[in-house]
């Protein structure tokens, strides 16, 4: 009854289910054990029936229960007529139906599991009927079908015959056929056979050929859209099919297929076909899962090993660091017994500090209790450390192994349980000595500071006094400066007045003289014939005096200019200057007559214009006063001393009476008559004034009739 195609279908379903199981592992049992509410028809043997106790039973009901159980559901089965229970499911009053033929109309109302049963149609005839061996043979025969059954749909669709009669039930159809009327009934094979047995009709048999196209797939149905339940039921169904419950139920309800009994070989091959792939898949899944687990576990173990290794390395480094720190520390590290100060642990630095070659030697040999230079300090330390638990920067003196003494500073804490003290110690001898020295220096410094402060205070007082004195001086200076400024201003003002005066003199005083002289001349020119000789002599006298006055004014202005003019000092070649001046002022006759001798004259630092005037006046005088002399010789020479230089002009002329030497350089002073030697008596005054302005001096010597020597001296500072 179940053909090979069905087996293949079932097999594939089972494989899918097995695969799902393998993938999801224990997942299938994880769902809540809900109770599913379903409903069954009372009379659709052998699928849905009622047992003797009135409970629902049948192949479909049992299959549903088994499938639900496989995925962890309880099932509560109600009983009702088909139409009602179909409505109940459609409207959600129940969860599922165990037996629903899948048709396009119903697919709109429900969702279906995979079909667990396909029922095929069969052609039923009265026994002994001949001539019907295929569907084609039915043509022309009278066929009975139940109204609205899919059998009717089928025969009309396939147009198996033109004589179709419908009945209300298949019972009616079979009874009619059994009574000898009509030729055949078309319905489902299993249901038909069961019904015939029930009705105890024996003269009807099912023809033994297939009815292609008339097949109905039966499934579990759930409410439209209840995909979750649908999946669970599909899964359960697959499990049940796979683990042979399906087969057992089939045997129970349909009995062994007589005539369709499979051979042992076939059974084994089917079993192998089913089981081997399942087994393979399961084993594969298990292997994969196992490998994954091993991989994960290996990974985590490796990680753990690595981490532990890291921790061990870190610990090693840490330990080494601490060991190095301890042994190479530049401070001493120690542990001593409280009771007697016995050294229990030490680093190399500590040993060195206490005068031992190494830590081994100091341990158990040195007791601090015996080596405090001032035993009181140990007592003090012990008291502190017992009350506070620690001491910090405690300073004490210790004996080294060789009884030399050093200063130590240590910090330590007590360990009461172990009865020891441990800590760090530093040799501070240098620091202590420096401190003591510093203290001494500080005392000295303080004394020094006091002494210096006193000294400074005295100086400050003196300075105060000096400052006051200075202030008075500055005040005086300011006052004097102001006075000087005022004087200077006055001087400038009077200088300006003098300028104006001399200007006025030079212009205004001359104009009348010009007029006197000029108009006297006009008188002589225009009225000469009316004047006698005496008149002409008077006019000449007027003119001569006017000219003389002009000369006096010129000389006065000259003298004034010498005083007022600005001095510009430069290096003057005195020898050249003397020659040039002589050349300028000596007339042609004089140059012939006179012997002009110039010695070696040093240069002078002076105003060139003014010094030429000096030379001019002196040489002019020499010429003038030698006019009547026998020896006409002028000598110019210089005499050098350490501090000064003297230049002289010497002549062999008229000379002068040395008694009147004081008057020589006075203004308008003359020692000779003007008729003898003309002049105004200003020349030497100008010489003196110029030389005085240069910081020098003038002097003269002479003898009447023998000549004179006029000299001027300039200080060397002027000439350097």
């Amino acid at each position: 009854m179940i053909n090979n195609a069905q087996y293949c279908l079932i097999l594939s379903l089972v494989l899918i289910a097995a695969f799902v199981c393998a993938i999801s592992g224990a997942k299938a049992n994880c769902f809540p054990g809900d109770t599913l509410s379903i409903a069954s028809e009372p009379d659709y043997p052998p699928y849905c029936i009622i047992d003797e106790k009135g409970h629902a039973d049948g192949f479909s009901v049992e299959l549903f229960k088994a499938s639900a159980d496989a995925v962890g559901f309880e099932v509560d089965v109600k009983i009702g007529i088909w139409k009602k229970i179909m409505n109940d499911l459609a409207e959600g009053r129940i969860d599922a139906l165990p037996l629903v033929g899948r048709t396009p109309e119903r697919e709109k109302l429900f969702d279906f599991t995979m079909p667990y049963l396909s029922l095929h149609g069969a052609v039923f005839v009265r026994k002994g009927t001949a001539g019907i061996n295929s569907l084609e043979d039915l043509y022309g025969k009278e066929i009975l079908v139940m109204k609205d059954d899919n059998a009717e749909e089928f025969v009309r669709r396939e147009q198996l015959t033109d004589k179709i009669t419908t009945t209300n039930t298949f019972e009616e159809a079979f009874r009619t056929l059994s009574s000898g009327e009509y030729d055949a009934v078309v319905t489902q094979r299993v249901m038909g056979l069961n019904l015939l047995e029930e009705l105890d009709i024996t003269n009807i048999e099912a023809l033994n050929f297939q009815v292609p196209g008339f097949r109905q797939d039966f499934c579990f149905a759930v409410q439209k859209g209840d995909t979750l339940l649908l999946e669970r039921l599909n899964e359960g169904l697959s499990v049940v099919i796979a683990n042979d419950i399906y087969k057992e139920l089939r045997s129970k309800w349909f009995g062994p297929d007589a005539g369709k009994q499979k051979s042992l070989k076939e059974v084994i091959s089917i079993v192998l076909l089913i089981l081997i792939p399942i087994l393979i898949i399961l084993i594969l899944s298990w292997i994969i899962s196992l490998r994954q687990q091993v991989k994960n576990r290996t990974k985590s173990l490796n990680k753990e090993v690595e981490e532990r290794k890291k921790v061990i390395d870190a610990l090693k480094i840490s330990e080494e660091t601490y060991r190095n720190l301890f042994q190479n520390a530049q401070v001493g590290l120690f542990r001593t017994r409280i009771s007697d100060g016995q050294i229990l642990e030490s680093n190399e630095q500590l040993a060195k500090m206490f005068g031992y070659p190494g830590r081994k030697e100091i341990i158990a040999d040195y007791k601090t209790s015996e080596n405090y230079v001032d035993p009181g300090t140990r007592e003090e330390m012990l008291q502190q450390i017992k009350t506070k638990g620690f001491v910090q920067n405690f300073e004490a003196r210790f004996y080294r192994k060789d009884r030399s003494i050093f200063w130590a500073s240590y910090s330590a804490r007590i360990n009461h349980e172990q009865g020891w003290i441990e800590g760090v110690v530093e040799d501070i001898t240098d620091r202590k000595e420096a401190e003591i020295e510093l203290r001494g220096l500080k005392v000295n410094l303080e004394k020094e500071v006091v002494a210096r402060t006193i000294e400074l205070n005295e100086k400050v007082q003196k300075l105060d006094k000096s400052q006051k004195a200075m202030l008075y001086m500055v005040e005086d200076l300011n006052r004097i400066t102001a006075e000087l400024k005022e004087e200077r201003r006055k001087l400038q003002a009077s200088n300006q007045e003098l300028e104006a005066f001399t200007y006025s003199v030079s212009h205004d005083l001359r104009a009348p003289l010009r007029a006197i002289n000029g108009f006297s001349k006009f008188l002589l020119d225009d009225y000469a014939e009316r004047l006698d000789d005496e008149g002409k002599r008077f006019i000449d006298t007027i003119r001569r005096n006017a000219s003389k006055m002009d000369q006096l004014i010129s000389d006065l202005l000259n003298l004034s200019r010498v005083s007022r003019s600005e001095m510009r000092l430069s290096d003057v070649d005195m020898k050249s200057a003397a020659f040039e001046v002589f050349d300028d002022i000596a007339g042609v006759q004089e140059k012939k007559e006179f012997e002009f001798v110039v010695g070696d004259l040093p240069h002078a630092k002076c105003d060139p214009t003014l010094i030429r005037q000096v030379w001019g006046n002196l040489i002019d005088n020499a010429l003038k006063y030698s006019a009547h002399a026998k020896i006409k010789k002028i000598e110019i020479l210089a005499r050098q001393k350490k501090e000064e230089i003297t230049w002289c002009v010497k002549d062999r002329g008229a000379g002068f009476d040395s008694r009147y030497i004081d008057k020589l350089f006075g203004i308008f002073q003359r020692l000779h008559k003007e008729e003898e030697y003309p002049g105004t008596g200003v020349g030497l005054a100008i010489v003196q004034r110029i030389i005085h302005r240069h910081g020098g001096s003038v002097h003269a010597s002479g003898e009447i009739g023998k000549g004179a020597e006029f000299c001027f001296t300039l200080p060397r500072s002027h000439n350097d």
């Binding site: 212009h507 001359r510 010009r514 002289n517 000029g518 108009f519 006017a546 000219s547």
Partner: protein, 148 residues
Amino acid sequence: MEKTDQVEILIVEDNPDDAEMALRALKKNKLANNILVVDDGEKALDFIFARGDYKERSSKNRPKIILLDLKLPKVSGLEVLKELKANKKTRIIPVIVLTSSKEESDIVESYELGVNSYIVKPVDFDKFVDSVNDLGLYWLLLNQQPSV
């Protein structure tokens, strides 16, 4: 006095005696024609630039020479000199400063302002005549002005 347009020699002199002596000296040198004497600096400038009392005359006719005293009322001789030498048209006129002083500051300043010659009025009239003679010959006979 000649017509102002024909003036050849302008004498600027406030002292009438000095002016007369100058005229006489010029006359002695046969230079008496076309001479004008003004007695202050302002009049001198008015004449030269044809303004004030002299606005009727043509400024194109410039004197051939100016004898200028330094000590003058109103506008001093140095100021007159400065103005003349600052003007493009008048700075070519030869100016001879006549003064009674040999004061250096006057001489230096006059030369700085561009004076052409300088003589000190001597007390001795004969020397004055000689000086005028020299100057007159030099400037009026030997030296021809460029015509502007």
